[in-house]
């Protein structure tokens, strides 16, 4: 399933933005394995997001690509060239660091042209490229300021400008927006995305925020405990999660995941069934359930119900209101149901963020559904 968006990117992108291939890459820190042997392809000119919970090895993977960490095993190729043993300066890769890594003693112009200076680019060309990039990033007025005199968002732009001015086709970003407030983050998301498309960069972006991943990525590589859980377009991962982990990690509130028996589905023992909250409908017939609590989100209403021993969250437009009584029936389209075969070993489900999980929120204590006046 190819999105219109990504075909359009392919048409615009530089023909030469190279892709990366990770061959059986692994990384140990002492006896601890940070990255299990994994392989994947990162296509040229695409926006690839490395997504996963804290400590799953995203930064480690990115740092191996940048050349700051040596892989324990495996190879990395960039545009067909083996770069595993190359020093980071020779990899033709630019990077934006989480703390921006701006040089505090240099002004904005000095920071942006640092690399050009190092590589002895002639002054006139430096000036011209600086003007161009500064205009593109809206930094013209700030060129003589020191980083300490800039706001977080401006520092972020300087870091981005420093990466862009290098003209390198591959850009790595490690949680670049985590220090910004929510509004600025949304703005920068759009800005980075637009920049990537305009320049046709191969961009590898690390985040633990699934919203960032969903909104920005052409392709998501979902990591868990040093392994690739699933990779694909945001739609693929959302609509066809390959594992229970992928099912729970993407989407807010996360997918309902319950033993198949609880939904009255015939399946081998141990099979779990998954349903997205928005795929469950309240109907006249179907699986009987009881209303437990609800949470009002503005446009939507999250309703927690109990079906036998299982708890389910369903989402529906707030204008439809709550169902008339505490007893109700649930229905879903056959293709909305996801089945997951029993997992060998302990299943590692991400615990949902308490803030976005109404079932654990103290704000929505069980209360009787309002009866329609009759």
């Amino acid at each position: 399933m190819k999105r219109a968006k990504s075909t359009c990117v392919a048409a615009q992108s530089l023909p030469d933005a190279p892709g990366l291939i990770l061959h059986d890459l692994s990384k140990d820190y002492g006896t601890q394995r940070a990255i299990e042997t994994l392989g994947c392809e990162i296509r040229g000119g695409e926006f690839t997001v490395l997504l996963g919970p804290s400590g799953c090895g995203k930064s480690t993977l990115l740092r191996m690509i940048a050349g700051f960490e040596t892989p324990t095993g495996g190879r990395i190729t960039l545009g067909g060239r083996d770069i595993t043993a190359l020093p980071s300066s020779q990899r033709d890769i630019a990077m934006v660091f989480q703390n921006y890594a701006l040089f505090p003693h240099l002004d904005v112009a000095g920071n942006i042209t640092f690399g050009l200076n190092v590589r002895r680019v002639p002054r006139a060309e430096q000036r011209q490229r600086l003007d161009e990039v500064a205009r593109m990033m809206g930094l013209d007025a700030l060129l003589r300021r020191k980083p300490a005199q800039l706001s977080g968002g401006q520092q972020q732009r300087v870091a981005l400008a420093r990466a862009v001015i290098s003209g390198r086709p591959v850009l790595l970003m490690d949680e670049p927006l985590s220090n910004l407030d929510a509004k600025l983050r949304a703005e920068m998301r759009a800005e980075i995305r637009a920049l990537q498309r305009r320049l046709g960069l191969t961009l590898i972006y690390v985040t633990h925020d699934q919203v960032e991943a969903m909104t920005m990525a052409d392709r998501i590589i979902l990591l868990n405990a040093g392994r690739i859980e699933q990779s694909g377009t945001p739609e693929q991962i959302y609509s066809r999660p390959a594992t229970p982990f992928a099912a729970r990690f993407i989407g807010s509130p996360p997918m309902n995941l319950v033993p198949a028996e609880a939904l009255g589905i015939a399946a081998p023992p141990g099979t779990s069934a998954g349903l997205r909250p928005e795929d469950i409908e309240i109907a006249e017939t179907g699986l009987p359930a009881r209303l437990v609590s609800h949470e009002y989100l503005g446009a939507d209403l999250l309703i927690t119900v109990a079906a036998g021993s299982a708890r389910l969250i369903l989402r529906r437009p707030a204008r439809l209101g709550l169902p008339p009584g505490p007893e109700l029936c649930l229905r879903w389209a056959p293709d909305a149901l996801h089945r997951f075969a029993p997992q060998p070993g302990p299943a590692s489900l991400p615990t949902p963020d308490p803030a976005s999980d109404p079932a654990s929120g103290p704000a929505c204590a069980a209360e009787p559904a309002p009866q329609p006046a009759s």
Partner: protein, 289 residues
């Protein structure tokens, strides 16, 4: 209200007494004394105006001490700071035996200066001293490092460098560790060589520390006395006399206290001028975070 004022003064009193008694009053007293003659036997002290200062300008030993001290400062300050920085860079990286090296570099600082000076006297001893034994293996002639006018000052300076470098290293080490590794990584990614990273990133970021150390180094260079006292007594023929040692001699061996006060005023003026100059000149080049 009055009670509170009284309390405030009572609280301040201990510090005030100590500061005034041991710093401010003696300083003023020194300046006053330098304008009077030294009381001797029958003749009480009397006002001589700038007479002591005129004597000082005509005193060849003072000028010799001054020259020695400038040479001594010119050797020890850059050398000890340079070595300190080099050692700090060496032991901050990931090298084997890092903890041991750090301790080894710092040890000279912990040892009492008098003990250190005595140990170095053994190294320098003519005939069977360590340096001469090594020299003999290499076929070099026997040298009396401390007894020769040409080498005495350098021999004393070497001990100072050896002792101070380890102390300054600690400051540099602390400064280096405040530099985020991602800055270095960002520079390396841009293709900067090790030397370039050092020149353009590390060095500017540790400038505040460099300024602090350099002020200390200057002060140390002018207030050295114990080592000269133990190793050479300023000799031979004043070849290793430094300003502070000369003040000691004048004040407590010749008991010419007024002249010693004059020398002290001159030295303090020089020190203050240098320190202020350092702050003004370097301050413009220093980036404080």
């Amino acid at each position: 209200m009055r009670r509170e004022t009284l309390h405030a003064w009572l609280m301040l009193l201990p510090a005030l007494v100590l500061l005034a008694g041991f710093t401010h009053i003696p300083a003023v007293e020194t300046v006053v004394n330098s304008l009077f003659s030294t009381p001797r036997g029958m003749r009480p002290s009397h006002f001589v105006g700038l007479g002591n200062y005129r004597n000082l300008i005509a005193d060849p030993t003072f000028w010799q001490a001054m020259r020695n001290n400038l040479l001594y400062a010119a050797i020890t300050i850059p050398l000890s700071m340079g070595i300190a920085l080099a050692m700090a860079l060496l032991v901050q990286g990931r090298i084997g035996g890092r903890g041991f090296l750090r301790m080894a570099f710092f040890t000279p600082t912990v040892l009492p200066l008098i003990a250190v000076a005595n140990i170095w006297i053994f190294f320098y001893t003519p005939g069977f001293g360590l340096l001469n034994q090594i020299g003999a293996l290499l076929g070099l002639p026997n040298m009396n490092f401390l007894g020769q006018g040409a080498t005495a000052l350098y021999a004393v300076a070497a001990v100072s460098v050896w002792k101070e470098a380890g102390f300054f290293m600690i400051f540099y080490l602390a400064a280096l560790q405040t530099i985020p590794p991602s800055l270095i990584e960002a520079a390396r990614l841009e293709g900067a060589s090790r030397w370039h990273v050092f020149r353009r990133v590390t060095l500017p970021l540790i400038m505040p520390t460099t300024l602090f150390i350099s002020v200390n180094a200057v002060i140390n260079a002018f207030r050295l006395v114990d080592q000269v006292f133990v190793m050479t007594q300023g000799g031979p023929d004043n070849a290793s006399t430094l300003l502070f040692y000369y003040i000691y001699q004048v004040g407590f061996q010749f008991w010419d206290t007024a002249y010693a006060a004059t020398l002290t005023v001159v030295m303090l003026t020089i020190l203050a001028a240098i320190a202020i100059g350092q702050f003004f000149v370097l301050d413009r080049k220093v980036h404080y975070r």
